[in-house]
């Protein structure tokens, strides 16, 4: 007895062992087909009794085990079924001979045997024989089961007869001694007549009868026999079996069978149930009421054949309780342990006990039994047996829930498969066993399980296992498998690998992939296990994914539709919190910019390399869905343990729609990985869905001006692609030629140009930028590659005067023009007031700056569209930054007016300052040129006609609608400035540089000067002797009365008056002294004071008086106006009456 049967369980004790064997040449397939059919007959209810017979079939059984048949009858081969192939009648005798030889092997124990012959037809087959059955073929053998049943019944008859024979054979004559093979020589020469020997014989026989009873389905009887046997054998200290254990074990088996009718050997359970004795749910369940049932006589089925089952032995007592079973097993095993040769029996007993304990859920005790089994030393085992032994141990540990132990032994078994002593290592078996250990190490081969949270399980042992899997799969000759395992190892155990291990693993991975590149396909093993693909998401680790907008110049903009874009059509409400919520969610996924079909789009990843060496990532590209996308893969090389490293992946969308970036693909160490963003832990992602709109043209602009290194102020908010700069003198005009080239593939159909001035702290006069778009548009649509030109005039007119500190008060009344708050509605939009205030202090400190250069910045916006994108209502916006450095040319430091002799004219006095470094000539309209040297200041007087501002047309109506009175006033002033400027037409020229420009007085004109320049609405005319007296001195004769008429024409829109006019004569001594004391020299005819009543608008009124000069001389008459208090608000300039110069001459008479 050397070959342990690890599959044994307690129930096997009640079975009859039948060996089914092929004879001659029978194909394995055919044999097992028949074998399976035979096996299905495993349970037979013997007719005329309720006993059930269980059969155990084996297709292989070592004859030496058979020799233990007396020890435990279930080890005895009682039936033999031979299957053979016989084609012709010629072969028949030979075949039959073989059958007999086969029978010889088990001959000592066989009760009966059968031969199944397949393929033979004819007269031989016709012969009715009990021990031979003929079937035409393996397919057509309907009677196999029936035959087997018959066969088993015949076995039963023999068994029953033996049982009865042995049971009743207690006459006391000569009970033969049953013994196991190794005992035989011990009993040689022993006194067979001694009482001791007899008892031993009796005990052993008793036990044998118990076995037979059990096999024959008489559970109760067997229990009784076992009990008796135990008592008998104990008395004679027959430890091996006489001494109890065999009997004890039998007792245990019988009890187990009673307690656990479902069976203990898991696999067989179903088969037993099939017999229909118990519902499935009753299996594996302890029956606590078993003992009570026993006492119930109605439930008993014993037929009283055996007189020894004496009624005085309580039946309930016979059956062991579950706890006792274990106790008895322990005892039995300890007895077995005394015999070296009974190792197999002991081992099997252990296995059986474990199975029972597993059902009782007493894992701890079961583990002790197993532990014991591990240390049972059998003879030198073959490698195959070792593997079997370890596998069974593993299974048993599994059974009691010790999955780690189970995995450990399975792994040992796997290692045994490829032990160096084996000539042909079974790598396949090893790999298969290793795979089975995975759950024990809580390892799954799906990388998804490891992607979330912390690592699970014992990394050190898991890593070891993975290494072994890699090695086994490689030796199996499946490189794809080993690549998969290795990449899994790298992916999941990266945190636990040391630097050296990382290097080793990656090196071997590279060497494997050189033969078989790692793919993203599911690998399915022949046994159904599938290995999901392992994307190497940690090589490199991606921390941040960001979809990038197109560069500003290529960004598509949506044309404003009639409805506002933001107004949702779904709701009639302008605002609803519910909608806002859902929109917010939507937005979290979708990014609010667009990509354009056909344009290169970018996604930025922040990656880092966790490896201690340089990591080469090849073929890194984007994985997208929704839109046909041409990904342009990148290759990168990350330095060892790099920090976050930005990587930009690019691609071109080929169609329109909604594109979502799902992940990226890489090739690292020859392994292709598709890494989906959803599966990456700890990734920062601000949405991955973008709309792709139809293709748009692309415009490139180039200008005649040099490019500027300066960029515009960052606060501008617009992103400007190109900057140009130019330096101009104040007042100068320059042309800017812009070339527009279509560098895209779509025709450019629409173009709009707008400009925006950024620096608005300066007061800017006139049009800064002006252009004629029509010329450029004439060349449209612009096909790809074509060029159009656009000319833009740049004109700068700035006010430099207020920079100078020396210009404290420009005007007579000291009002500083620059202090006047100037704000046009347009500027208010561009620059908030706060900013303009903040920029004031630096402006104040600016005079220290020698250059005095001012900078004007503007943006030219080109909105263009075309192609399919235009149809969809998109356009692009290209900006050209323009920076103009304005140097001061000439400016007016001071302006004042002097009344001219005529009230309709006045003199404008301008202090002109040349702030350039060049000589400069200045010319006003019609006047001679004034040469100014660098830094020189001169006064320039221009006689101008007074202006009748009232007659100017009001500024455009729509502006006036929403402008405040203040702004209106300002506009009016601007208009006046323009008017005055154009009237004056002051131009400067720098001969050395050949540059010319305009000099503007707008900035320095103040309220007072303006008033002086304005033609007063009240026109006063003084007539002397009916002649209007303007500048010439009127002549009169001494003694003659001189008629004086003061005429008032009201041009103002309201009535004025009443006024009082007093004529005051005086003499100018030309030395600053005015002599008003002329009562003796001049006398009035009539009153010297006139009263004027109210003058209606457009009305006229006149006062008449006369003067009499008594002496000759030059006299001046000053007409003073006394107003009534009611009309004080009239400005004094309205009352500037000319002084009348009268020269009194000697009378001729």
């Amino acid at each position: 007895m050397s070959v342990p049967d690890y599959m044994q369980c307690a129930e096997d004790h009640q079975t009859l062992l039948v060996v089914v064997q092929p004879v001659g040449v029978v194909s394995e397939e055919n044999f097992f087909r028949i074998y399976k059919r035979i096996c299905s007959v495993s349970q037979i209810s013997v007719r005329d009794s309720q006993r059930v017979l269980y059969i155990r079939y084996r297709h292989h059984y070592p004859p030496e085990n058979n020799e233990w048949g007396d020890f435990q009858t279930h080890r005895k081969v009682v039936g033999l079924v031979t299957i053979t192939d016989c084609c012709s009648a010629k072969d028949w005798p030979q075949t039959f001979e073989k059958f007999h030889m086969q029978k010889e092997i088990y001959g000592s124990t066989l009760y009966d045997s059968r031969l199944f012959v397949f393929g033979l037809q004819g007269e031989i087959a016709e012969q009715p024989r009990t021990d031979v059955a003929f079937y035409p073929s393996y397919e057509a053998c309907p009677g196999v089961e029936k035959r087997i049943e018959d066969f088993i019944e015949s076995l039963f008859i023999v068994l029953e007869s033996k049982r009865l024979d042995r049971a009743t054979d207690k006459s006391g004559d000569k009970v033969p001694l049953l013994c196991v093979p190794f005992e035989k020589k011990d009993f040689v020469g022993l006194d067979t007549d001694s009482r001791h020997y007899k008892k031993r014989c009796q005990g052993r026989m008793r036990k044998h009868v118990g076995d037979l009873c059990l096999q024959a389905g008489m559970l109760q009887d067997s229990l009784v026999h076992y009990h008796m046997a135990v008592e008998l054998l104990r008395a004679v200290n027959d430890f091996l079996w006489l001494g109890g254990p065999a009997a004890l074990e039998g007792l245990c088996s019988a009890s187990v069978i009673y307690h656990y009718p479902g069976g203990t050997g898991g696999k067989n359970g179903a088969r037993r149930c099939q017999g229909g004795s118990l519902p499935a749910e009753a299996t594996n369940r302890h029956r606590p009421g078993a003992q009570e049932v026993l006492i119930d006589p109605g439930a008993l089925t014993t037929n009283g054949i055996n007189p020894d089952t004496s009624a005085e032995i309580g039946r309930a007592k016979n059956c062991l309780s579950p706890e006792d079973i274990i106790e008895k097993y322990k005892e039995a095993i300890s007895y077995y342990g005394k015999y070296k040769n009974a190792g197999v029996i002991e081992l099997e007993a252990c296995v059986k006990a474990v199975r029972v304990l597993a059902i009782q859920k007493r894992s701890m005790e079961a583990s002790e039994f197993l532990q014991n089994a591990v240390y049972i030393n059998l003879r030198q085992l073959s490698e195959e047996e070792k593997i079997q032994r370890y596998s069974v141990l593993s299974e048993l540990y599994e059974l009691i829930g010790f999955r780690r132990k189970s995995a450990f032994f399975k792994r040992v078994a796997a290692m045994q498969c490829v032990a160096p002593s084996i000539a042909e290592p079974g790598w396949r078996a090893c790999y298969k066993l290793l795979l089975e250990t995975l759950p024990g190490y809580s390892l799954s081969l799906d990388p998804q399980d490891f992607s979330k949270g912390t690592h699970r399980g014992w990394a050190a042992v898991q890593m070891r296992l993975l290494h072994e899997l890699v090695y086994a799969s490689r030796r199996m000759g499946n490189p794809a498998l080993s690549v998969r395992h290795l990449s899994f190892l790298l992916q999941t155990m990266l945190d636990f690998l040391s630097d050296q291990e990382k290097k080793d693993v990656t090196q071997s991975l590279e060497s494997y992939t050189s033969k078989c590149p790692g793919t993203m396909e599911l690998i399915t093993l022949p046994d159904g296990l599938s290995l999901p693909p392992v994307p190497l998401t940690k090589l490199p680790i991606v921390r941040h994914v960001k979809l990038l907008n197109l560069p500003a110049s290529l960004r598509p903009q949506k044309m404003k539709s009639l409805l506002g874009q933001n107004v949702s059509a779904k709701s009639p409400f302008i605002y609803s919190p519910i909608i806002a919520h859902s929109r917010g969610e939507e937005r979290s996924k979708k990014i609010d910019f667009q990509w354009v079909q056909g344009d290169v789009c970018e996604v930025q990843l922040m990656v880092y390399n966790p490896m201690p060496f340089e990591l080469r990532v090849e073929n890194m590209g984007l994985l997208t869905s929704g839109v046909e996308f041409e990904s342009l893969p990148a290759a990168l090389s990350l330095p060892a343990e790099s920090g976050l490293y930005p990587v930009t992946l690019v691609g071109v969308p080929q169609t329109t729609g909604t594109i979502s970036v799902n992940g990226y693909h890489t090739t690292v160490f020859g392994v292709f990985s598709d890494c989906l963003l959803d599966n990456l832990p700890g990734i920062k992602n601000n949405g991955s869905t973008v709309e792709v709109i139809p293709a748009l043209p692309r415009l490139q602009i180039s200008t005649s001006l040099p490019r500027s290194a300066h960029s515009l102020q960052p606060a501008s908010g617009d992103e400007v692609s190109t900057h140009v700069s130019v330096q101009l003198f104040n007042g100068e005009t320059q042309q800017l030629v812009i070339k527009l080239e279509n560098i895209g593939v779509e025709p450019l159909e629409k173009l709009e140009v707008t400009s925006k001035v950024l620096t608005s702290k300066e007061k800017l006069y006139g049009d800064f930028l002006s252009w004629k778009l029509e010329e450029a548009l004439a060349q449209f649509p612009l096909q790809p590659g074509q060029v159009a030109t656009l000319t833009v005039n740049i004109q700068v007119k700035l006010d430099f005067s207020c920079q100078e500190n020396l210009l404290q008060d420009l005007s007579d009344d000291g009002i500083s023009v620059s202090g006047f708050p100037l704000c046009s509605p347009f500027r208010q939009v561009v620059r908030p007031r706060v900013e303009s205030k903040a920029s004031n202090p630096p402006e104040g400190s600016k005079p220290g700056d020698p250059s005095h250069t001012k900078v004007l910045e503007a943006i030219l916006n080109f909105k263009y569209s075309g192609g399919p994108g235009h149809v969809e209502g998109y356009y692009r916006d290209l900006s050209l930054g323009l920076r103009v450095e304005v140097e001061p040319s000439v400016f007016f430091t001071r302006v004042s007016t002097l009344p001219a002799t005529s009230t309709r004219q006045c003199h404008l006095l301008l202090d002109v300052f040349n702030s350039t470094e060049h000589e400069l000539s200045l010319s006003a309209r019609g006047n001679e040129e004034l040469i100014l040297h660098a830094g020189e200041c001169q006064r320039m007087a221009i006689q101008v006609d007074k202006f009748n501002f009232e007659s100017f047309p009001e500024s455009p109506g729509e502006k006036g609608q929403f402008a405040s009175p203040k702004q209106l006033e300002e506009q009016r002033q601007e208009a006046r400035g323009l008017e005055i400027n154009s009237k004056l037409g002051i131009r400067w020229r720098i001969p050395s540089l050949k540059r010319t420009g305009e000099a503007s007085v707008e900035g320095v004109l103040n309220q007072l000067a303006l008033e002086h320049l304005q033609l007063a609405p009240l026109q006063w005319d003084v007539l002397v002797d009916g002649q209007p007296c303007d500048c010439e001195a009127a002549a009169c004769q001494v003694g003659d009365p001189m008629r004086l008429e003061v005429r008032l024409t009201n041009r103002s829109p309201r009535s004025v008056g009443p006024f009082a006019l007093t004529v005051v004569p005086f003499q100018d001594h030309q030395n600053g002294v005015h002599n008003y004391d002329l009562h003796s020299a001049v006398s009035f005819v009539g009153s010297s004071t006139f009263y004027l009543d109210a003058v209606q608008p457009a009305g006229q009124s006149a006062c008449l008086g006369a003067l009499l000069f008594l002496y000759t001389g030059d006299f001046f008459l000053h007409v003073r106006v006394h107003e009534d208090s009611t009309s004080k608000e009239l400005p004094p300039s309205w009352f500037c009456l000319p002084s009348v110069h009268v020269r009194a001459l000697e009378g001729q008479a």
């Binding site: 894992s363 701890m364 583990s367 002790e368 532990q371 240390y375 540990y397 829930g401 010790f402 999955r403 780690r404 132990k405 450990f408 190490y441 809580s442 912390t454 690592h455 699970r456 399980g457 014992w458 990394a459 050190a460 042992v461 070891r464």
Partner: protein, 141 residues
């Protein structure tokens, strides 16, 4: 004396493991790993007992194993301590093992009290814990 000391997290992965013959560390990994089966079994058996009356010391896990004995200890937070003891040293009594475990537990508690220690991380940089384990390994030898 103790040849291997291991601290195992509630989720059954090692927080700390150190063995004396460092060259064959994996063997101890397997040893401790498989003994978790018994620890689990004992814990589930104890689960029925009242929590506060529970004995933390699990006793001998494997009675017979070549020349090593393994003892287990489980804290109330299901953190397990496993100690492999060379059974050639027969002088070691149950009480001594118990006190060693108690020391280990105290030291582990100190580690947990460290505000810079992240529960669930491997115990790597605690010098006090390290030296305590070292002292247990050489104590009697």
């Amino acid at each position: 004396m103790a040849v291997c000391v291991a601290v195992i997290a509630k989720e059954n992965y090692p927080l700390y493991i150190r063995s004396v013959p460092t060259e064959n560390e994996l063997k101890f990994h397997y040893m401790v790993h498989t003994s978790l089966d018994v620890v689990d079994e004992k814990i589930s058996a104890m689960g029925k007992a009242l929590v506060d009356q529970r004995e933390l010391y699990l006793g001998l896990l494997y009675p017979t194993e070549d020349y090593k004995k393994r003892y287990g200890y489980v804290t109330n937070s299901k953190v397990k301590f496993v100690m492999v003891v060379d059974s050639s040293n027969t002088a070691l009594r149950d009480n001594e093992i118990r006190s060693m475990f108690r020391k280990l537990h105290n030291s582990y508690t100190d580690v947990m009290c460290n505000p810079f220690y992240n529960p669930g991380d491997r115990i790597q940089s605690s010098r006090a814990f390290d030296s305590m384990v070292t002292s247990m390994m050489i104590q009697v030898c």
